[in-house]
Symmetry: C2
DNA sequence: CTCATTAACGCAAACGTTTGCATCAACTTT
DNA sequence: AAAGTTGATGCAAACGTTTGCGTTAATGAG
């Protein structure tokens, strides 16, 4: 088949071990020999077999990515969040010569076995988990397998045992709400998706905290969760039928953001004239939206980049302290908000 | 380290070869032995080492994906096209037990060496190339290496030697243009991105063809290429300053579509009242845009799915006829166009 | 009862690297 | 000049599978 290290060795009149050492640029080999061997490698068109190397080195210089599993299949990849995170991971991995392998499973069970295959099959040196979910089997498995990994998002359960990178969602939501308060909004609504995610709980908490600081009491009528896109309509209806409809909204996803935007228009109202909107996650969507959405930049790319830094560090120094990285989020004022007071 | 086939063999009182055959469920092994061995595997927590298997089988059941390279880094992953294609690939790969590995390179050179590494390093059994570009080194390399691969898009050069899956971009653009012509538009503009991509050339050709059928001659003033987002402004300016500005536009990417949408609004004009817009690639973006963009559904997911079908077929039957698959594209009328004639 | 057939399994050689240890020549040192 | 040191390379055993071929015992045919 292909030309192997032995072929090169034979042609260069050296031993296979010498060739191997030339490949890894060992300092035990004389420059003359290196030159000679390299020339032969060139001539023969040699390329290393990474399977063989992986076998003996017990390392493949590959990291696996566990893609987010979502009931709503379409939202997986389409969700720009995933893309951007992977961008970040990819960038850092490349800098360190690591390859990337991704899960292909669609259901929770499939994904789990993908992970097992990657890890036990020794296909990867480390893993990055793109979500944090209650009662998930992946994280416990990875802990058990004692393979380096980091999760993006805040793992609910064994938080002190795993390294994770996340935003401070409480703080971010607090900031977002405070931003609106500073613009003299007093009636602020909150829209989140599935409240079973920790993210949503945290953001809700931050939202409440900011209100509290201003002495505004919790108003359940201002807080809604949309489980599927159709809910948006109902929710907006309810909001607008209130005696005092909210003048501003904090929304936990860009997709919902544009959805709400559209419903608002349908009601003959305008953003930001009639109602201000701040959404979580600055993404392509918030940029191409008209008006551009004032969004919380959670620095998704950076999230991925740091996660990658984490695993690779863990791979090289397994005893690294499992520090957790908080990526700061900051609000990026665009066009979907306005101050209630014309200064 | 981990428990190997030999450990299992020892514990089960059989030879390693027997264990191996149990794993592959060989019919040369008695059911009794299989049961026994499987039980031991279970007890010992055995899992196969895919590196070792890859080494001897000369196959890893992994396919590599060459991500599109773009000068404008941000457009890579963010571009929903890529995400959807990968979704399709991923789905089919999973059905056949194949894993996925993606390139991490940012520049053309980096990507090329990623590919070489994957292929020569025997990390993958086949490849899918997510773009077709003139004077690209990847496709020639893959041909040379004689590894199964399929490109998504129409390879310009050695078209009869490679298997590809693509839309009929000429036809699609022709349809799109005809669609507008049917709505009594006569002054139709075309906006594409990098004209070095075959896609753009094809779409341009289809655009011209449709016009020709109506006896409308080519007008270079109506055809523009935007290389970076800032160009959109200039282009629109030029269009609008024409004596007869276009009443409709065919745009080759959803991202550009929303960009142009915004610029049009900036000029105090409205879509579709003042100008109709049809964009290529129905994606999340075109759906969340306001108004929803009338788009050509190129069935991106299907593109990926078929590509995957292609490689895996080539892997199993190397002598498969290198058929090329054309995924039909059809226009999905939404809200960004109108007829010039009030019926 | 002998011989050919088959079913079930073991042997051992690959697959292409890496790496600890041994070797050996050429230099230093004393 | 002998002993020790250093530098450059080779030997051979791993790494964990797969698989062609050989062996054995049981079965069937004649």
């Amino acid at each position: 088949m292909a030309v192997t290290i032995k072929d090169v060795a034979k042609a260069a009149n050296v031993s296979p071990s010498t060739v191997s050492r030339v490949i890894s640029d060992s300092r035990h080999i004389s420059d003359k020999t290196k030159k000679k061997v390299r020339k032969v490698m060139e001539e023969l068109g040699y390329h290393i077999n990474l399977n063989a190397r992986g076998l003996v080195r017990q390392s493949t210089k590959t990291i696996g990515i566990v893609l987010k599993y979502s009931e709503n299949e379409a939202w997986n990849w389409i969700n720009p969040f995933v893309s951007e995170v992977i961008q970040g991971i990819s960038a850092h991995c490349h800098e360190h010569g690591y390859s990337i392998m991704i899960t292909t499973g669609r259901t929770e069970k499939e994904i789990y076995s993908d992970v097992v295959k990657m890890v036990q099959g020794k296909q990867v040196d480390g893993m990055i988990v793109l979500y944090a979910r209650k009662e998930d089997r992946v994280v416990p498995f990875l802990l058990e397998a004692a393979i380096p990994f980091v999760v993006i998002g805040k793992p609910v359960d064994r938080i002190h045992e795993v390294m994770y990178v996340d935003n401070d969602n409480v703080q971010a939501a607090k900031d977002a709400t405070a931003f609106l308060l500073n613009q003299y909004h007093r009636k602020i609504g909150f829209i989140g998706d599935n409240p079973s995610f920790q993210v949503i709980q945290d953001r809700l908490e931050g939202y409440y905290k900011a209100l509290e600081l201003e002495g505004i009491s919790k108003n359940p009528a201002y807080v809604k969760f949309v489980q599927n896109p159709e809910d948006e309509e109902k929710i907006l209806d309810k909001f607008l039928k209130l005696e005092h409809p909210p003048t501003a909204l904090v929304i936990s996803s860009p997709l919902q953001g544009v959805g709400v935007l559209k419903r608002i228009l349908n009601h003959g109202l305008h953003v930001p004239e009639d109602i201000s909107v701040v959404v979580f996650n600055k993404t392509l969507i918030t940029e191409v939206s008209i008006p551009k959405l004032t969004a919380i930049d959670t620095q998704t790319y950076q999230l991925g980049y740091e996660a990658s830094k984490g695993v690779i560090e863990l791979i090289h120094y397994p005893d690294t302290f499992k520090r957790s990285v908080i990526i700061s989020a900051r609000i990026e004022p665009k066009e979907s908000h306005r101050s209630l007071q014309e200064n």
